[in-house]
């Protein structure tokens, strides 16, 4: 899933470890999220949104990701 996590984190001036400490996960999880290799749980997404002060919809590009997924199913 496409995310704006890296940009939002840099805008906030946080390191990956600092963000990880704020949302109670390991820095490896933050790296995986930024590399778009892992989709977070709803709670983690909410925590990240609060920590970075960015709406969830914007942080995880939910509209764009939904449209992409919709298209994938419509093409079936």
């Amino acid at each position: 899933m496409k995310t704006n996590l890296r940009q939002a984190r840099k805008d906030k001036g946080l390191t990956q470890q600092q963000l990880a400490d704020r949302v109670y996960v390991t820095s490896r999880t933050i790296i995986a999220l930024e590399k778009e290799e892992y989709n977070p749980s709803l709670m983690l997404a909410y925590r990240l949104s609060l920590a970075l002060e960015v709406p969830m919809e914007e942080l995880f590009d939910l509209r764009e990701n939904k449209e992409k997924e919709d298209k994938k199913y419509e093409d079936l």
């Binding site: 990880a20 109670y24 996960v25 390991t26 490896r28 999880t29 995986a32 892992y38 977070p40 749980s41 983690l44």
Partner: protein, 143 residues
Amino acid sequence: MKIYSRKNLFGGIFYTCLALLYLWQNRGQLDDISPIDWSILACVIAAACIRFYTAFSKKTGRQAMIEENDEREKLLQLKIYRTSFWSGSFGLFLIGWFAESCAGDEAAKYVSVGIRLSAVLLLLLHILVSAAYSFIRSCRSLQ
């Protein structure tokens, strides 16, 4: 006293049991234990202390707790368990098949059949546990 990391607590208990087992095995002849064995025992006791300290210390336990409850790590572990289970069962079956083809006498053939049978039993056990787990879950969701 609050437990911050169960994993480290169990690790501490394990190392303590290991040290106690060693002492129990050598009861009555503690004077004859070689310095190398004493140093190994000291290392095991030190490991147990470190584990207990990490399990109960707020400062170090926090990181251990985060590591334990990290959702991605849990998912990864589940994937590793699944992969290792299937590759292990398949490997066991292959070893049994290979052992049978190389077996020289009757006894070796029985061993190879036993290995293959254990692979099949492992799969059956897996199916049984999965079915029981899904049954319990469906019962719980009905409540």
